[in-house]
Symmetry: C2
Subunit: 247 residues, 2 copies
């Protein structure tokens, strides 16, 4: 019995969600509500003491870290749909891409995402509520990120993250100019893990990701969105919308 604990289908939560859909694996999907800070609740920290989503429970054994979960699903639950190249060199290239998204691409996009979304959640709390909430966050660096989001990230940090996003989308577009997929000539975890971050940037970062500047990246995002399992996933799994309060 597989149970996935995650937010809606974006960022790190999208990676194992889409991997499960693509592989056609049956699983129970427990969606946590970030606006209610459910990932910092006691019941969830009993599952992942770090208070982070996603986490996969496989018969009572819990795997954390989105990219590790994806490889675990390929290892432990093989189906006809294979999301890793058989050739080991190509598989290594896939891992260079999944490592890159985890160490570089996801962080710069995350900071801007927090600036545009989490900031408003944090600012909607009173000082007392906010401090009480911080007590529930087990990772010191995450506490600090919440604090900085609420105060507002310094502009020089935001500028630097935007620079890194520019480097990232250029790198993806350059590679996709000569390749249909990121690694091994096939749709793989490299694509799923990078798509998890890149999807939606045509809207949220339209000045950087658009048909003129990054045609190959836009083509690749569209080509993944056109896949039947991706459409099924987005139809079934609700997306959250964090952002400035509506009037």
């Amino acid at each position: 019995m597989l149970t996935l604990y995650s937010f809606g289908p974006a960022a790190n939560s999208l990676k194992p969600t889409l991997t499960l859909y693509e592989k056609g694996l049956a699983f129970e999907h427990k969606l946590l509500n970030p606006a209610k800070f459910e990932h910092h609740s006691e019941w969830y920290k009993a599952i992942n003491p770090r208070g982070q989503v996603p986490a996969l429970d496989d018969g009572g054994r819990v795997v954390t870290e989105s990219t590790v979960i994806c490889e675990y699903l390929e290892d432990a639950h093989p189906t006809e749909v294979r999301l890793r190249p058989d050739d080991y060199f190509d598989r290594a290239m896939m891992r260079v891409w999944t490592k890159w998204v985890d160490e570089y691409f996801c962080w710069c996009v995350s900071t801007i995402g927090w600036h545009r979304g989490v900031r408003y959640m944090a600012q909607a709390l009173s000082d007392e509520e906010f401090e009480a909430h911080l007590e529930n966050i087990p990772i010191p660096e995450q506490k600090l990120k919440w604090r900085r989001a609420r105060e507002g990230f310094p502009q020089d940090l935001l500028d630097e993250e935007m620079r890194k996003i520019g480097v990232s989308v250029r790198k993806l577009d350059d590679h996709l100019a000569d390749n249909a997929w990121l690694a091994g000539g096939m749709y793989s975890l490299a694509d799923i893990c990078n798509f998890a971050i890149a999807n939606g940037m045509e809207k949220g970062f339209a000045e950087l990701v658009n048909p003129e500047d990054t045609p190959h990246l836009v083509r690749w995002i569209e080509q993944i969105n056109a896949r039947p399992r991706v459409q099924e996933m987005f139809a079934r799994v609700p997306r959250e919308r964090l952002g400035p309060p509506k009037d």
Copy 2:
């Protein structure tokens, strides 16, 4: 034919070096000299355009990223010595540890290492030599790290990195209190990749890593150093010494 390009047996270069030794694989070892900036030379950037070691050439195909190389060696060059658990859950736990060292532990130790070593290399250059050298570094973030190392890292950054090192060695010691090895009850890539960073901290960070405060971590470092292949590696592969100039 396997060729490993690396620095001496420490940090990220130690990971694939030790993996090759443990597995008993024959390979040509091309040691680059960091004091001569060989990793930023044109001949090496033709092998790894990012100008970083280690890199593994396997019959003309080049794998980069130390952790990816280690998994590649397990995939593509199996020997009797297996460095990944067969159980897929344990293998996922191994990957959580290799991911953690790459995303957290190695970075804080690296900054202090640069402060204590690379700084002197950078300061020994004239302004003109230094700027000319920066031109050879392909990664913008690495250029910036060189610049900051030469100027001297800000004290608040050094303090924060020392805090993270404290968190890291506490985490390792706590886990090793109940476990002989990091994952799956066996010596694995999780141990090799973390040992690559932790080895020598009993000397370089004696205030944090010592028999009183972190007895289990010290025991684990000693237990790895006692392995025949580890001793063979250190006997054969010279270590560099970067640091303040000698009188």
